[in-house]
Subunit: 337 residues, 2 copies
Amino acid sequence: MARINRQVTLAARPVGRPKESDFALVESPIPELEEGQFLIRTIYLSVDPYMRGRMNDRKSYAEPVKLGEVMVGEAVGKVEASKHPKFEVGDIVAGRIGWQEYCVTDGTEIRKVRTGGQPISTALGVLGMPGLTAYFGLLDIANPQPGETVVISGAAGAVGSTVGQIAKIKGCRVIGIAGSDEKVAYLIDELGFDAAFNYKTTDDYIKKLAELCPDGIDVYFDNVGGPLTDAVFPLINVNARVAVCGQIALYNSTELEQGPRLLWKLIEKQARMEGFLVFQFVDRFREAMADLAKWVDEGKIKYRERIDDGLENAPKIFLGLFDGVNTGKQLVRVSQE
Amino acid sequence: MARINRQVTLAARPVGRPKESDFALVESPIPELEEGQFLIRTIYLSVDPYMRGRMNDRKSYAEPVKLGEVMVGEAVGKVEASKHPKFEVGDIVAGRIGWQEYCVTDGTEIRKVRTGGQPISTALGVLGMPGLTAYFGLLDIANPQPGETVVISGAAGAVGSTVGQIAKIKGCRVIGIAGSDEKVAYLIDELGFDAAFNYKTTDDYIKKLAELCPDGIDVYFDNVGGPLTDAVFPLINVNARVAVCGQIALYNSTELEQGPRLLWKLIEKQARMEGFLVFQFVDRFREAMADLAKWVDEGKIKYRERIDDGLENAPKIFLGLFDGVNTGKQLVRVSQE
């Protein structure tokens, strides 16, 4: 009487931009629960740019997904059966569930979800890893001061949109870089950014940034890398801080890309660039989550989610991240709440 | 009865590598002292890679030298006449004297020299700006811990050789990169570096660094930039720190040089790169100088000076820095002590 699980596995190592054929949809029976295990039904699956790195056959900060293995990923789900002392049927949980309809787990890297009055999907967005990434990357790595100018690339994404709003809470002038006029309008009109521009319709990034940042750039929160980042460097101020969060412009590169050598600028401006992973701050997640929840409740942080349906569509939805189709957090609905 | 001063001025803005003809040797009368001024006879003149930046028509962290102006530079000299309440005839002083035999000054950016038992020339080297640069760049920017691996480019220069010895005092494994076999031998045999290599006779920098740094690289102190720095990046450890002190490989570039994009590595390794200028730490020079003087007196920091004669040779001696002719501090003797 084993029920059938549907899973998306890694079928081939992509070269450059992944194709849908690099993934496979497979079926397998759900194993019987052993003592200490429980069964999660996946509701929302998160797709994130970092997953591109997991598809390579090369250890980065985490192990790659093996060929034939279920794709890694955070999801939110509901406990449907339990032989675990701490998780009960009906609990809403989040964590490393993977791209699958059901997950049997002993609870490793799974947590109960508390999103207060917010939808459970926010456990994958503004009240999950993207929110925490924004929080620590901005406040700890970049440490912006009132009146400083903060520039954000990938500003309309799940992380970038939260970074900008936290920077506004901290009294900064906030400039967003995004990939459509609609996103630019969203940043300015709905999220309260001071300015933003559409890089896809802008020829001279440096000129545009110089217009929008008359006092130079004190903080740059980089989700993108490549030519946008090159354009920020000439405008940084003394003591500038660059928080390097993502480099989505480069994730599908098949060779080591070249760009202008910029280190001299760090000397001239006594500036700092620092890469980070949200997991560095795991001991302080509780503190950050309390702040984020408060700001969301107060309406100081707004968020958007784009929810597309169907586990079988997860590869296509994931690939959309590289086209920038999403404003805010991109999710896949695997089953109904 | 005005005495004649000889000065080296900037005659032309260099394109790429400077030529001797970009400088001019001029003579002018030494002005009479006014109240509050004193006259310095230059003894040793420092030439440093940073001066290349001052020859460009572009503000960097400091104003450029104007065409026809005396070249900027630190020197040590002796007070020969004084109408200043705090400086007396016979005082040994150092500071922004410039490339000239005599300097009339009101004392701005001039300090009395105290080098204890060491030669007065050390006020331009291990007990001067290069020593302070090494001290703060290593200890404050990079903050090495016992047992960590520290790699230094330009390791046999005035700054690099001091950095390496301070890192040894702090219990680190120290690897130097230098430009001749003689320098490599000096670093290992005389200064106690754990290893070093001659980049001019090494084809594969990454392979060589991997051999010499079996536990990866925790700290990189960069005086050089360019391909050497590119080779360090693949080997950095989690939480690596890169102190960006100089980029001599690029100072004579006529266009913005290209290199591999490396920011992703900062994320993967949660690593930090920080540029600095010694002047950031001016409030703590006294503390640092006490440490440096103690270490020199105890023989824990050794130093070399290369002294070439003649103000008229200063341009040629300066240009030698870009060929790496000097081991340790390069000085020009302008007059006898």
